[in-house]
Symmetry: D2
Subunit: 138 residues, 4 copies
Amino acid sequence: MKLTAQQVEDLIHLGFAAKKKMLGIEEVRPGFVRTRLPYRDSMLRPGNVLSGPALFTAADLTMYALVLSHVGPEMMAVTANFNMNFLSKAKPGDIIGEGKMLKLGRRLAVMETLLYSSAEPETLVAHVTGSYALPVKS
Amino acid sequence: MKLTAQQVEDLIHLGFAAKKKMLGIEEVRPGFVRTRLPYRDSMLRPGNVLSGPALFTAADLTMYALVLSHVGPEMMAVTANFNMNFLSKAKPGDIIGEGKMLKLGRRLAVMETLLYSSAEPETLVAHVTGSYALPVKS
Amino acid sequence: MKLTAQQVEDLIHLGFAAKKKMLGIEEVRPGFVRTRLPYRDSMLRPGNVLSGPALFTAADLTMYALVLSHVGPEMMAVTANFNMNFLSKAKPGDIIGEGKMLKLGRRLAVMETLLYSSAEPETLVAHVTGSYALPVKS
Amino acid sequence: MKLTAQQVEDLIHLGFAAKKKMLGIEEVRPGFVRTRLPYRDSMLRPGNVLSGPALFTAADLTMYALVLSHVGPEMMAVTANFNMNFLSKAKPGDIIGEGKMLKLGRRLAVMETLLYSSAEPETLVAHVTGSYALPVKS
């Protein structure tokens, strides 16, 4: 690993100039990261479930954290493709993300992320695959 | 069309209990909708470009508006699959969405959405396809 | 399970009126299926690697087998969305598919499939997610 | 354009060492290509409709032709992501592909392809987006 969980958490906090803790990094190991996006009321949508944008945010940050922990503080990795299948309505709670590296190439990192709500931790809420374009080294 | 642009705009405003205008519906016709998500500073991410969650929100609301205008006020249509390709960095501005119905079946609506920033209206920022599960009629 | 591995294999063989064994079903259990698409020279593309259409076939049949084994001989389930990330070049060999049910709803089954070549069984060749529309029961 | 329709057709024919004409290239212009995959009986699946693998082949070759015509005979461009929405059953016929370049970057080409059957040319059969990784220039 190029970075620890704490270093990834700090980098994301700094990068977004966040006032509050943005994303908790709970575990980092080769090929894997577990994250927690703290619940806020603004995450809800009509029907009192976690909104699509909140789930998108959790998945995107999880994959960003996974890239960071594997390639180091290359802040310029950018999302290229993002594919999400919505599986269950998500009860209000922190969003738990489990990110898995499928391929770490020179130009592209391909990842999978599973999302859960802390209010119902056994229920898979969404399945995401995404690819990030990596900056070319000079 | 089951609903006018104004009716769709009002339904989304009501559904999200929004204080400010949520999403402008600029055009509605068979198979097509054009929307405008007003710019707010909270849409920016590091690098001063429109964030992934903001683009996701614009695309998701555009497809929701497209379904609403075609099937009527069925507020229970839910996103099933969402696939986004990020094409260009988006300069700060309103997000313009052009939604096109690819298939309106009994169980599933499949749509395409193109996203632009009003700050650079010629540049395609993201391409999205999505499917919504339609409520079964009883 | 509604069907055994042998029953699924027979149904696919019959459905496609195949002369040779079409797809081997190696394991069936709740939420999971393992398949083997036998190697043929026609699966190769320039560069001597397994072709995209061959990988597509393996993934699509794997998800079809997974649906069949869970819902019974409903031959009318049809692919709605198919998303594939190509991860590594695949050496010539049988294509091994591991299918996992992510959600089995009333209208839609959402699945994930991992593909490997028997010539290099440790290397993930492609990651697929797909959804199938299920026939409405009358 | 780097290549004419005829040159693209010849390159694909040569690359696949095809005995029969593989893919017709009917039109090539900046950002666009129209192709025709000739009908063969092996393209059918149960129900007498064009199969998923046949549609995949048509879409993949269309996007390959689109890349070739824009970047020249770089035979090493490889599919990275492929997302297909199946919209209508396709009656037996040639598969017509309309490919559109969404973004031609240095590392990635992102494209959209619409598929039709010549037996019912007004009906959109499938919508595809795909990205190809481009070889790094040395």
